[in-house]
Symmetry: C2
Subunit: 199 residues, 2 copies
């Protein structure tokens, strides 16, 4: 495919093709979808991109995304500000928030330590985290991804925070709810066994 | 998910979610991709949507998409203007063009006759096709989709054009190249048998 010979269309297809998980066929479908929008809809879509880009920045406290000075969690008096949940990305914070179970605050690192990709602690929002550890904070929960990078980041932060007298915890490893034991990988199963609880 | 509490982000996610084949999770991923673009890139993306929408219109002759008066195929003197390939959408024309085998012109109907969806001949670019059938046109190839709607459209047009003394043909039905006979459906196999050729 590809031979459209229509420069603005080719350009739009290219724009979509750069997105994660979008191949050429999908990019074409999306471009034709845009062409079929009404003028108002197309303008709204175009403006949404500019708006999201220009109005959204990092919360001054937790580095999560917000269009205000503080994100709603940091600004809320109902949240437990003595508890910080450290996550890699804003999407992880959104996932935690969706459980409806967590009442503390967040801290978004915007990545994980990864020597292979040349990402060290200075490339993450670690300084900002340290800056928050006033007397009020009692516990920091590591909710980085259960990957090598996430684990390394959690370990690094825990070594940094523990000497400051702060309780550092980690999300429990174990078998996912509703999953089939048969299909759980060995490492997960071993960790689930290790972390078993009294019934 | 969904609890981002950031209006411009939610808006952008909604915009992506309206697109065909894009669910909530993908829409989120795309929205975060946009947030991570540089200012220049985000502006280019936004402008590409406006450009595609405002600069692209139908070719005056074949109703394919173009940003010129005529599409490159209709404008080309190298193409055989006595041959018209009728397709449902611009993407179908692009697919035909990608074969590199077709040297005639196209006509894009922008849909197919579908009584269930209340789409009749007047909703398609049929009048424009009839208007092209001067003495020069010798053959019209029906390349509508091999579906009930596509077949009905091809049948309708062939009944309209044949009395005008124009040769009307249809793309061959058969087994796709490289496919496994075992997995071909019965109707396709029956059609392939029906249309068998001398070796």
């Amino acid at each position: 495919m590809g031979n459209y010979n229509v420069a603005p269309l080719e350009n739009l297809v290219e724009q979509f093709e750069r997105m994660p998980g979008i191949g050429n066929k999908t990019a074409q479908r999306l471009a034709y979808y845009v062409l079929n929008l009404s003028k108002t809809e197309a303008r709204a879509f175009s403006q949404a991109i500019i708006d999201a880009h220009e109005k959204i920045h990092y919360c001054e406290v937790c580095c999560n995304l917000t269009d205000q000075k503080l994100c709603p969690v940091c600004a809320s008096e109902k949240r437990d500000h003595s508890l910080i949940c450290v996550v890699e990305t804003p999407r992880d914070a959104a996932a935690m928030e969706a459980t409806g179970e967590y009442k503390g605050t967040y801290h978004v690192l915007h990545g994980a330590i990864s020597p292979l990709n040349d990402i060290g602690p200075d490339d993450l929002k670690v300084k900002e985290l340290i800056g928050r550890l006033s007397g009020e904070v009692k516990e920091v929960i590591m909710a980085t991804n259960p990957t090598v990078e996430g684990d390394a980041t959690a370990m690094y932060l825990s070594r940094l925070l523990k000497p400051m007298g702060i309780r550092v915890t980690r999300l429990a490893y174990g078998v996912p709810v509703g999953a089939d034991l048969e299909y759980a990988d060995q490492v997960t199963l071993a960790r689930a066994l290790e972390g078993r609880n009294e019934l």
